[in-house]
């Protein structure tokens, strides 16, 4: 295996004509880290990944892998490998030939490259399907083959473009566990683009939340969820209420908000119940209040049974001082 290497982006920008897709971002991914680029569509996360891969030219800035500046190198010379969205397996080649493709490009002879490809198919438990073509495989199986194809080049960094979005929810959860285990085992950094915050929180060592071509916050999942830096991060991650106060915008986690009587002394905000959703162990209560949108509170099932809430009820919302998290304006 090649040496795992740090990835560093230095003031990297991407312009498409007059539009700025990625705006001078700085990012450092440690050599053993799992990094998720998280954001809504059009936030620049895929452009960033494609620039790291070398499939998109960098307009300004530099990309460093280990000690090497790879900004102007072709993909195969960077030590990166990319797993494409919906996998881009070659439909005319069997699994083993798909995996062996990059070795064939390097002129490795047939017997040797197929033997090596079989090893990587074993790594992803796909060796029984070696002679099948991609159309005969399920989504999850195709993903494993794509993974083996990317890994056979012994990359220093693996880049994954929405690797789980083509799978059904059940398989998605299973595959993300496998991705995480594989990353630990290989000990190389993975950079994973996703728009699912649960995926990012579950997988990553480093969550990078992007919006409008900028990084809103980069940190561990815990940091990002506990201390969202901006209103965008708080709203995008979900589970947070953003409330305007005289001291500025604050975030309060939905599970730390308690629903009290409207007249109660503890109530900091008066609200009207807009929706009630049963979630098993708890109820998700949607609320409306002037000066704050999309409020919600998580009410435990025992508490809810004691004082049930119905749509249209006027209530008060309370939280502890310790649960207040001030937000800064967008970068």
């Amino acid at each position: 295996m090649a040496q795992p290497a740090n990835l560093e982006l230095v003031r990297v920008s991407k312009r498409y004509g007059a539009t700025l897709a990625v705006d001078a971002i700085d990012l450092r991914v440690p050599a053993d880290g799992y990094c998720c680029l998280l954001g809504p569509s059009g936030c620049g996360k895929t452009s960033t990944l494609r620039m790291i891969a070398g499939h998109e030219a960098v307009s300004e800035g530099d990309i460093l892998i280990g000690d090497a500046n790879v900004t102007d190198l072709p993909p195969a010379k960077r030590g990166t490998a990319m797993m494409f969205q919906s996998y881009a397996l070659f439909p005319h080649l069997s699994c083993v030939d798909n995996v062996a493709f990059s070795l064939k490009m390097r002129g490795v002879d047939r017997a040797k490259r197929r033997a090596q490809a079989m090893e990587f198919l074993e790594l992803v438990a796909m060796e029984p399907f070696a002679e099948r073509v991609p159309a005969q495989l399920s989504g999850g199986q195709q993903q494993r083959v794509a993974l083996a194809r990317a890994l056979i080049t012994h990359p220093q960094i693996l880049l994954l473009d929405e690797p789980l979005s083509a799978l059904d929810p059940f398989l998605r959860v299973r595959m993300r566990g496998e991705l995480r285990r594989l990353q630990r085992r290989l000990g190389i950094p993975f950079v994973h683009v996703t728009h699912g915050q649960d995926e990012a929180l579950a997988l990553a060592d480093l969550v990078v939340v992007m919006n409008k071509g900028k990084i809103e916050q980069a940190g561990s999942p815990l940091e990002v969820f506990e201390k969202p830096a901006t209103e965008f991060v708080a709203r995008f991650l979900g589970g947070h209420n953003v409330v305007e106060t005289p001291a500025g915008l604050i975030a309060v986690r939905a599970d730390r908000v308690s629903v009290v009587a409207e007249a109660s002394n503890a109530a900091r905000l008066a609200a009207v119940v807009a929706s009630v959703e049963y979630q098993g162990a708890s109820y998700q209560v949607g609320l409306e209040a002037p000066g704050a949108r999309d409020l919600s509170a998580v009410v435990g099932d025992a508490a809810f049974t004691k004082t049930p809430l119905a749509i249209g009820d006027r209530v008060g919302l309370a939280w502890l001082d310790a649960d207040i998290h001030p937000l800064s304006p967008a970068p």
């Binding site: 993909p75 195969a76 990319m82 494409f84 881009a88 070659f90 493709f101 490009m105 390097r106 080049t153």
Partner: protein, 297 residues
Amino acid sequence: MAAGRDLDSYGAPGWLQAAPFALVFAAFFVLPLVFVVIVSFWDYNDYQMLPTFTTRSYVESFDGCLTDLPNLCTMFKTYVSTAKFCFIVWALTLVIGFTVAYFLAFYVRSATAQMTLFLVCTIPFWTSNVIRMISWIPLLGRNGLVNQLLVGAHVVDAPVEWLLYSPFSVALAFVHLFTFFMVAPIFNSMMRIDRRLMEAAYDAGASGWQMLTNVIIPLCKPGLAIGSIFVVTIVMGDFITFDEMGGEQIASAGKVIETRLGALQFPPAAANAVILLGATMLIIAVLNRIVDIRKEL
């Protein structure tokens, strides 16, 4: 998709929906073909067809073909010559057609420009084949533009004779007329290639040439096969181009049929048509072995 259900299970509406095309197909393809086969086994004399079963037309067509071996009889010579043209024209249209389609599909970025250029390729079809052929004559003739230029530039002392009414001019006209029949299906195949596959190949370190041989050509196989079938069938059956551009000096399989028809000898014309059909289907069967077209569509 009917997925395993046959027409019967749809009842009357299914049959009704299939009927118009089936009738057209039966009336204008199956029936004439059956007549041709039947007539090819009839006898004839100087002024009429005699509806009695005989293999005379076939026997006469292949006259001396076995006894003269290893020398080729007229029939074999004609077919070898036609097949030679067929191969040359096929190879040239394939290379040119592929190049044009490649340019349109991968170099032209905007979809509007792509479609515009593709439609520009069809402009020659606004005039008839014959007119397009004849337009070569002022260019290639003994005192044509090309010869004037060559003599004027002292490249040659006397006008070049083989430019017109020669195998060269026949092949040239075929390539000119039929390259588009290669371009269209190959372009269609290329447009259906997922661009991410090319990125994946690039990511795996493929050079431009490796991309072509390992990804693009294999995925263009259906287009290549369909284009080849168009060109091969047209050239095999053609006689007008051979006449116009070859100065009526070059024999071809189609020309044999035309001559027999001109002499009102319908049974031998029909027999030759059946032989030509067999030969062409043989070539297509070989092509089909290389690419399973039904599977690839």
